[in-house]
């Protein structure tokens, strides 16, 4: 077993939070049986919604393409099981906090019938560019929660000079343990995914990074790594600090390189992928199975028996909760995603989607207390992992001073919520920053529109000026030629005109 190494860069700030993870990791992953109905939103990635290619009444097989990607940052959606498309309609989704968005609804026939299995591709014989296109077809998106389409991220990364692939198994947010469970039970798949990604990216170094509170996952990965005997892959352990699993924070921790403001990890030669994403890439390339299921943590003091489940994408959350023993009597609050970055929903009819790494049912929503004036204690600046000055940003956000907000790096805020937690005045800083960011973007849009209108206005004025000059030039040309011809010619013309008038025949 290869032991994890510890030579780490330093992360500024961050918090040691109570994990609440033991409850859900006590048991192995539970495979949820097929639900009677699957609800598949056509928007499960950051780009524009996918375009449905099936119609109501069609019979579909497991893994069949349901919706094609539309636009640059699109990802396809596949049928999670076989059945009949019964509707393409609006349905509550977690992405919109329980509001409705278009979904494809499949009535499952229970047969879970897949097309005739074709052998997986031998990826090593494929050119990296072909492999990337193949990954695009698998509907794979970043399973850490950001759901950025994996193929597009890799294609972008290929344009930069790369040194490291970093597999993110940190999972620093409290309550969530789906990556932990996946690494414990499917370590070989994760490592195989890593090798596929390394081939696609043509990099020769990969770090698999796990937080120190997951000794069992580290052990399993170590065993699998020893068995694999690939010395390009190195296991690394990082201290348990929130938010060390943020992309830029992880790069800094592992390589001691700071991702520049407004830049990407590729600027410092790194690509970060979630371990779940790597396993999904393995499933697609080796087993020909697109992204139709995922591991999700069902936890919180609002469910009877917290557990990690493997469920088909599109399974209603109420079904998932039922398999975790149902709700406790004290349940008050349902969050899809973690407590820091998740989205509260108003109904459990929402389906589980590619982004859903956690279903969190809480008995009592965290009470923050009343908001008090800022006393400028500076605690928020101490914990900020991006080394911003939240107290100053708060000041400028209140004053709506766009320029100062930009100068103080608001756009680099990762919205981790650390400053909220430590604020003795209970100021909802992260929420304020989100609003301020929206306003900055709005303002930039407005500016761009105004600039465009100005250019069009000026172009029109120039055109008018050109036309006026051309008209003047033509007039003076006619005058000149008349003058040059002399009075005799003019008299001649007038005479001819007079004649034709007198004698119309």
């Amino acid at each position: 077993m290869s032991a994890p190494t510890y030579d780490l860069g330093k992360l500024h700030g961050g918090l040691r939070l109570e994990g609440h993870k033991q409850a859900s990791t006590a048991q192995p992953i539970l495979d949820i049986p097929l639900p009677s109905q699957l609800i598949l939103p056509i928007e499960q990635h950051v780009g524009a919604p996918a375009q449905p290619v099936v119609s109501v009444g069609d019979r579909v097989l497991k893994g069949q393409l349901l919706a094609e990607p539309d636009g640059e940052l699109g990802a396809p959606v596949h049928a999670s099981s076989s059945g009949t498309v019964v509707a393409i309609e609006s349905w509550p989704v977690s992405r919109r906090n329980g509001d409705k968005a278009p979904c494809i609804v499949i009535e499952c026939d229970g047969k879970d019938e897949a097309p005739v299995a074709t052998a997986g591709t031998d990826y090593l014989s494929q050119a990296p560019a072909d492999l990337l296109l193949r990954i695009l077809d698998g509907g794979i998106v970043g399973l850490g929660g950001a759901v950025f389409p994996t193929a597009q991220k890799l294609m972008q990364a290929r344009t930069a000079e790369l040194e490291f692939l970093i597999l993110n198994g940190v999972e620093c947010e409290p309550y969530i343990s789906c990556d932990d469970a996946l690494m414990r039970e499917c370590a070989p798949a994760v490592l195989s995914g890593a090798r596929i990604l390394m081939h696609a990216l043509q990099v020769n170094a990969c770090y698999v990074v796990v937080e120190s509170d997951k000794p069992e996952a580290i052990g399993r990965l170590g065993e699998a790594l020893a068995e694999l005997g690939d010395d390009r892959i190195v296991l690394k352990q990082v201290p348990t600090i929130y938010p060390s699993g943020g992309e830029d924070q992880l790069v800094q921790l592992v390589t001691n390189r700071e991702v520049p403001s407004g830049g990407l990890p590729t600027d410092v030669g790194c690509v970060v992928q979630n371990v779940g994403t790597a396993a999904a890439v393995h499933d697609w390339i080796v087993n020909n199975q697109p992204l139709i299921s995922r591991v999700t943590t069902v936890t919180g003091d609002g469910v009877v028996s917290p557990i990690n489940v493997r469920a088909r994408i599109g399974t209603p959350v109420e079904e998932v909760i039922r398999h975790a023993g149902g709700y406790t009597e004290s349940v008050k609050h349902l969050v899809i995603g973690g407590p820091m970055t998740g989205r509260s929903v108003t109904t459990d009819a929402v389906p589980l989607v590619k982004a859903s790494n956690c279903v969190l049912a809480l008995a009592e929503p965290a009470t923050a207390g009343d908001e008090l004036p800022c006393i400028r204690c500076g605690d928020c600046a101490v914990v900020c992992p991006v080394q911003l000055l939240p107290q100053q940003l708060f000041w400028y956000a209140c004053a709506d001073d766009e320029q100062k907000l930009r100068e103080f790096g608001l756009l680099d805020c990762i919205e981790c919520g650390c400053c909220d937690l430590v604020c003795p005045s209970h100021i909802p800083l992260t929420a304020d920053f989100r609003i301020a960011k929206d306003r900055i973007r709005e303002l930039a849009d407005e500016k761009a529109r105004a600039e465009r209108a100005r250019q069009r206005f000026e172009a029109r004025n120039r055109r008018f000026e050109r036309e006026r000059l051309a008209r003047d030039a033509e007039l003076s040309r006619q005058k000149d030629s008349a003058k040059r011809a002399g009075p005799a010619a003019i008299a001649e013309i007038l005479k001819r005109k007079q004649q034709s008038r007198d004698d119309p025949a």
């Binding site: 407005e446 500016k447 529109r449 105004a450 600039e451 209108a453 069009r456 206005f457 172009a459 029109r460």
Partner: protein, 160 residues
Amino acid sequence: MWIAILTIAGIALVAGIALSIAHGRLPASEGNLVEQANDLLPQTQCAQCGYPGCRPYAAAVVDGSAAINLCPPGGDNTVRRLARLLGKDPLPLAASLAPAVAVIDEPACIGCYHCRNACPVDAIVGAHQFMHTVIESECTGCELCIAPCPVDCITMRPVP
């Protein structure tokens, strides 16, 4: 004594040349301010301020001959930004205008060309005697096309 006189004269000459070059290179502060004010305006060119476009209004605001609250498309935000730029007190907006785009009722259009000539940002397309239409993404909602239309087929549709 001559050395002293020549030295001082030399320094004055060098400084004078440097200053005159700087004066030529750098934009005059007044002009700069007009540009800055113009940047704050929404560039709809709607002339609702009483000036023939955004830049003339910016110039008038800077030299003090126009109030800062005459730009309806810009709204309160523009008034506030102009106030900050010019060190004046913000005023309530003289008249407000919700963001909207012009829509031509195409079956009713007679192809008279009048609206096309009125549009300050060339957002209307169509040939003489043929139907006209508005390029929605370029329309600034200035309402200048409404008055010239002889058949009143242009309406404003608010944008959400």
